[in-house]
Symmetry: C2
Subunit: 297 residues, 2 copies
């Protein structure tokens, strides 16, 4: 089965798991809150549909890794929904005027532009809470701890804080690597380790998959930096050049555009060469690694 075919299989299952989680309720206030979530997740409002949902790449990573580790991907759907909710929580907060101040996300006005800043803070918080509820119900405390750790102060949020604090300052290549590995790489690596755990991988396999995920995750963020520099609003779904105008520390800023592409390609090569899961089917994971950089090559 090709990557595209698998994604075609997974996508509706992921959307279904997400919809079950973000079910509309008739409680006071909640109807509106869950409509906001649905708007942000690409199901409601003008432009709703697959182009507004994003590719759901993080949940797909969870499901692919579960399958590669020998498990049933269907069992990993709660964890898959959870990482997508977390990703979206972080986007809502990132887009706020007091953070990146973005007006467009996936081709639509950002949540705070439509509903106000205070509500956007709370809607983000609510998605984060839902993410933990979903994994807690799925009954794997190890996966839960992994995802909490990868998204919190020692992972994604810690990276975002370092990113905000470094805005407009000169930083070293080591520092930008730290920021990117944490703000983007940690969650992506935890998608792979969570999937592997749910497929009952051994500790050795978990370590191997974690390194693979960290490399792919870092490459993913470098590619995002590159697209911010060379992309068009139509394909990006957001305003390009935003990083530069905010004085963000990106790979192109520190290494130049050409070198950044080389670094991303090199990381993907290292990731693929380092992926060793004897007796497991890894082709799809390898294709996925390529897919991450093909957006710019």
């Amino acid at each position: 089965m090709s990557l595209d075919e698998l994604i075609n299989d997974y996508y509706p299952a992921i959307e279904n798991a997400l919809i079950q989680t973000v079910a509309i309720t008739n409680d006071i206030g909640l109807e509106e809150l869950h409509s906001m979530m649905a708007y942000h997740l690409g199901w409601l409002g003008e432009g709703a549909g697959p182009s507004a949902t994003g590719k759901r790449i993080r949940p797909i990573l969870v499901l692919l890794t579960t399958q590669a580790a020998g498990g049933k991907w269907q069992n990993a759907l709660p964890a898959a929904a959870s990482v997508e909710l977390i990703h979206n929580f972080s986007l809502i907060h990132d887009d706020l005027p007091c953070m990146d101040d973005d007006d467009l996300r996936r081709g639509k006005p950002t949540l705070h532009k439509v509903y106000g800043d205070g509500i956007a803070v709370l809607a983000g918080d609510a998605l984060y809470a839902l993410a933990f509820e979903v994994i807690a119900r799925s009954g794997s405390p190890e996966v839960l701890e992994e995802i909490a750790n990868a998204t919190g102060t020692f992972g994604m949020i810690g990276g975002q804080v370092a990113d905000v604090l470094a805005e407009g300052k000169e930083i070293t290549p080591g520092e930008v690597e730290y920021i990117h590995s944490h703000k983007t790489g940690s969650l992506i690596a935890s998608c792979l380790t969570s999937g592997a755990r749910l497929g009952d991988a051994t500790d050795e396999e978990l370590d191997n998959v974690r390194v693979f995920g960290s490399r792919v995750g870092l490459a993913f963020q470098i590619v995002d930096d590159i697209l911010d520099e060379v992309g068009e609003v139509e394909t990006l779904g957001k305003t390009p050049g935003a990083d530069k105008s905010r004085g963000k520390n990106t790979y192109p800023k520190i290494h130049g555009l050409e070198s950044s592409i080389d670094i991303a390609l090199d990381l993907i090569e290292q990731a693929k060469n380092g992926l060793v899961l004897p007796g497991r089917e890894t082709n799809i994971l390898l294709s996925l690694a390529d897919f991450v950089v093909h957006r710019v090559t």
Copy 2:
């Protein structure tokens, strides 16, 4: 042992559990982030000390209930730290200019006044993530699900959203009860149910404690509303009258001051009369219920 003596026992253990969790690290950016957390939790900066930490009433509730249910309170310290982190995450976000826009918290400038709004959003997010890490490590998925549910869209955050959406509007007594029960009551009730679970309470005891917690939690928020109307900045540690100037829907606004006090007293009576844990020592929980309303009587 009196309530005061127990609190004197618990307080240092809670502070210690919190300090272990919010340990300062030397990672890039994290040193600053964890200093911010330490500032907000009352350990750093001008005015640091017990008056700046708050009373830690939520963790104390967890520990008291664990003990009342026959467990060792020491085992409940991770859950106790967790609910306090969640409470503080919600305070940081509530104080933001796009929410309640408060300049003072526990007698000190609010976090965003010192470090900026973007960082305050992230510091709140990071505390929420830490809270889940702590409970995940403590290995009780039931407690985790309970706390996630009580703080998320069907609990605290759902209540806050309803609160923000109702600002400046006329709402019914039923609606303000919904808002208060959720934004404040849910977390307090989950402190009691978490404590009871960790003390191996029966399902029947859990249900009983949940009702007790909901009533005490609602009374607690009504008392907060009253204090916002009649309190002084020195004892409150924040600016009184803020609810009125924002057009918040409070009990005094809807029921009048005198009736609000009666409603709170009545809820505490109902809570105490309804608490039935045969063979358990409940005196301390009863004193704690009284303590909640004694702030205004």
